[in-house]
């Protein structure tokens, strides 16, 4: 088990390093940061001055190296715009976004697990078809469109929910629903197909034919086996939710890292954007790593495979 974890850890670190390099290169090659940063009345000379003072005139590799050594010490740089450290900007907002993402995942799981299981029990029944249609519709709804519709209906017309901000728990309801709707379809499909696969196996068929209650079979056998891929997908989804919060946070004016990223992208605040890319990548890598370890722990066979 230990060597399994060690191997995974090493690969994850390598992936993180590669991703940071690619992200860094992409951002630097895509535009002239110095000119983007220069003040409103900047002349060509001032832009050069900024380029020098920010060290943007050095070679890409040199810049990356200094960024990386900083990052390794926990110094992610300073925002060009607010001049606060990127770290403090993040820490002030990560809580809000984490609440959003985790709640959305929990909501998505509480809806998609039971529905997916029920659908798997009765393939091609009306319930199964309903569940599939729901999944398909959810998948086809652009989150920004859903968000606008919800604001219009529940915020303005019915006035049930506050429209924007994050000062009370009520404020979180609409954003969480929008995010959850995005995560439900994949989770539901996976639950359905996973459970179905297990149900078709001989020992389950035998158990069912012997009259053991379906609910017990579901919980004791089917779910336990279907849960492995669901854990993995949940980890993936959590990473996606962190990224998806960009749209939701900007529509609902929630000051989390999604909105921070969107604003930073708009004003060319490179250190923040780079850090955000790194953060989401790291979150994804850590989560999938945890899911892998958890899976290996639940199912020892996986430890042999690489």
């Amino acid at each position: 088990m230990l060597s399994f974890v060690r191997g995974k850890l090493l690969v994850s670190l390598l992936v993180l390093l590669t991703v940071s390099l690619v992200g860094f290169a992409l951002l630097h090659l895509s535009g002239d940061l110095a000119a983007t940063l220069a003040g409103e009345n900047a002349s060509a000379e001032q832009i050069e001055e900024i380029r020098r003072s920010m060290g943007l005139d050095r070679s890409l590799l040199a810049q990356y190296a200094s960024w990386l050594t900083g990052a390794a010490r926990g110094d992610l740089g300073t925002s060009f715009f607010t001049r606060e450290t990127v770290f403090s900007l993040f820490m002030a907002r990560i809580g809000t976004t984490a609440i959003l993402a985790v709640c959305a995942l929990v909501v998505a799981l509480t809806i998609s697990l039971p529905l997916g299981m029920l659908a798997a029990l009765r393939p091609n029944s009306w319930l199964d078809r309903l569940v599939s249609s729901l999944a398909l519709s959810g998948q086809a709804l652009p989150s920004f469109f859903l968000a606008l519709m919800m604001v219009s209906i529940f915020g303005v017309t019915l006035r049930w929910l506050p429209v924007s901000g994050s000062s009370t728990p009520l404020h979180y309801i609409m954003p969480i629903v929008v995010l959850a709707v995005g995560a439900i379809p994949a989770l539901m499909r996976l639950t359905r197909s996973g459970v179905m696969e297990v149900l078709e196996q001989d020992y389950i068929r035998t158990a069912r034919s012997k009259g053991i209650p379906t609910a017990r079979i579901m919980l004791n056998h089917a779910m336990r086996n279907a849960i492995l891929p669901i854990i993995s997908l949940s980890a993936v989804q959590l990473g996606t939710l962190l990224g998806g919060s960009v749209i939701v946070e900007s529509v609902f004016a929630i000051d989390g890292i999604g909105l921070l990223t969107y604003r930073s992208i708009q004003r060319g605040d490179f250190p923040v954007v780079q850090a955000m890319l790194m953060f989401v990548s790291a979150a994804y890598i850590v989560l999938t790593l945890l899911a892998d370890i958890l899976n290996a722990w639940l199912d020892p066979r996986l430890r042999q495979k690489r």
Binding site: G31, D32, A35, T36, L37, A38, G39, E40, N41, A42, S43, A44, I47, F81, T82, R83, E84, A92, L148, V151, S152, G155, V156, R159, L161, P162, V163, S164, G165, S167, T168, P169, L170, S250, V251, F252, A253, D255, L259, L260, Y262, R263, Q266, R267, G268
Partner: protein, 510 residues
């Protein structure tokens, strides 16, 4: 069953908590004015940054020596009870007595001298420091309540800077904590004090009950809560659902969506910002725009009143000359001026040798795309095929400075600093990288006007400039923007004559 009961009780408790929290709605009931802004500001004082949004905070937390009266635009005494230009390069301020800062410090000449000393120290690297404060030669305390300020060169627009950016700092507090403290924990003499802020998202300000009143009346509303809401439709939704009482950064187009909404009042006011169509006059090499007749044809081809009144606002100013009539020294009675005349435009295109038109790229900031599209439509009528490129402001600026613009819609100026025409003519006709005209006479006239205090002389110089611009059709002046102030009907607030809102003036309607 027991479990279920326990759960439902917990749920009930949670729901009641949630519902009680939601009872907090905008308005008078808790004496809190809720205001929405679109953009977050990096700092909330006017020295460390310079943007309309930070000015909003700076204005109510700090007092300036001179106050720009929001109803008339006149300069009136505030912290200075009077001021007197002893020569065209020096001014004496008599300070008001008996004023205390929000932290209890007494206001006197030392604070003023300290503040100006900070402004003069170029190591502080304040935003636009050289441009706004570089001309200050010295500051001197004559007695406890008298200060003398000297300039290096005459500067007729200096009072604009004083009235907009220079909030006076308490010397002891600032010295002890460094000037950056005002970016996060500001202390001024103004009508509201910052109580708390979540930087970039919400700010709470409370009334300064000891405010001295006078030129600027004592504030009435107890608390002001300012929130940053980036999306316009969310702001509109908040206004319609009663979540906010005031929105200050909606565009006139956004506001048309609010007309007739119950409980919402839309006011418009004059703004100093103006837009013009910049053309690459000086560019060489096969450049149709270097031909004056082509530029004149373009000027005759655009139906400005139609475009401006339907796309910007019925209240927006259609510009005849390259300045906003709300600006001082904006002269509009020059000749020639251009009005829609397609026949003449086509004829001019023919004489210029472009009877079949040409291709050109028009760049514009993304949020004025509609104007670009309108121009695209008008110019197609005289055969000019416009490729419209819209982009975020920084990207546009970058390319404009690099000289990559063939045609651009340029917006410039805001607030008190552009109250004077020099602000608008400044960087677009000074021979710099942002000057696409490079007319030496104009550069000369403008530079002279900037150091001339005699009003008659200044006016003459600007008349020369504006006339030359129109004669040569160097640019096509388009429109002056309208400032919008969207309020809930609970709020009483008079739209200011200049787009430099002072929300300490707001009160409850009843």
């Amino acid at each position: 069953m027991k479990k279920l009961l326990k759960w439902s009780t917990a749920f009930g408790a949670l729901m009641s908590l949630v519902l009680s929290a939601s009872a907090v709605r905008a308005g008078q009931s808790d004496d809190t004015l809720r205001v929405a802004l679109s953009r977050e500001t990096d700092f909330i004082d006017s020295i460390h940054t310079s943007s309309a949004d930070s000015d909003l905070f700076g204005t109510i937390i700090f007092d300036t020596l001179i106050y720009a009266d929001r109803a008339t635009g006149d300069f009136k005494p505030l912290l200075a009870s009077s001021w007197n230009w002893t020569s065209d390069k020096s001014v004496e301020f008599k300070l008001r007595q008996g004023i205390k800062f929000q932290n209890g410090e007494t206001f006197n000449a030392d604070d003023v001298v300290f503040t100006f000393k900070q402004l003069m120290d170029m190591n502080n690297k304040f935003r636009q420091q050289q441009q706004d404060f570089g001309n200050i030669a010295s500051v001197e305390k004559l007695d406890e309540y008298t200060v003398k300020l000297s300039l290096k060169q005459p500067e007729p627009t200096f009072e604009n800077v004083l009235a907009s950016r220079v909030g006076i700092w308490p010397n002891e507090y600032t010295e002890a904590n460094g000037h950056m403290i005002h970016a996060t924990k500001p202390v001024g003499t103004g009508p509201y004090a910052l109580k708390s802020m979540q930087k970039g998202s919400s700010y709470t300000l409370v009334r300064n009950d000891n405010y001295f009143g006078g030129t600027r009346p004592k504030p009435t509303i107890g608390t002001i809560e300012i929130r940053v809401i980036p999306e316009t439709q969310t702001q509109i939704a908040e206004l319609m659902s009663g979540g906010i009482d005031m929105a200050l950064s909606l565009s006139p187009t956004d506001v048309t969506a609010l007309q007739g909404a119950p409980g919402v009042i839309v006011q418009t006011g004059q703004a100093t910002r103006m837009y013009f169509l910049s053309m690459n006059v000086a560019g060489k090499d096969n450049n149709p725009l270097s031909n004056a007749d082509v530029r004149r044809a373009i000027s005759y081809a655009v139906n400005k009143p139609e475009m401006v009144h339907s796309l910007v606002s019925p209240d927006a100013a259609v510009l005849a000359t390259n300045c906003n009539p709300s600006q001082r020294f904006c002269i509009t009675d020059v000749k020639p001026v251009y009005e829609l005349n397609l026949a003449k435009a086509k004829e001019l295109m023919k004489t210029a040798g472009y009877a079949n038109g040409f291709d050109v790229t028009l760049m514009a900031e993304a949020n004025i795309r509609a104007i670009g599209e309108a121009l695209q439509g008008y110019l197609s009528a005289i055969g000019i095929r416009v490729r419209l490129e819209t982009m975020p402001l920084p990207a546009w600026r970058e390319r404009y400075i690099k000289g990559e613009s063939q045609m651009s819609i340029v917006g410039w100026g805001s607030g008190v600093t552009s109250l004077d025409i020099s602000n608008t003519l400044g960087i677009f006709f000074n021979g710099s990288s942002t000057d696409y005209v490079k007319d030496k006479d104009i550069t000369e006239w403008n530079a002279t006007a900037l150091r001339t205090t005699d009003k008659g002389k200044r006016e003459e110089l600007y008349r020369n400039t504006l006339t030359r611009i129109n004669e040569q059709a160097y640019v096509l002046p388009l429109y002056g923007t309208v400032a919008t102030y969207v309020l809930s009907e609970q709020v009483r607030y008079q739209a200011p004559v200049i787009d430099f809102p002072d929300i300490s003036l707001a009160g409850w309607a009843k």
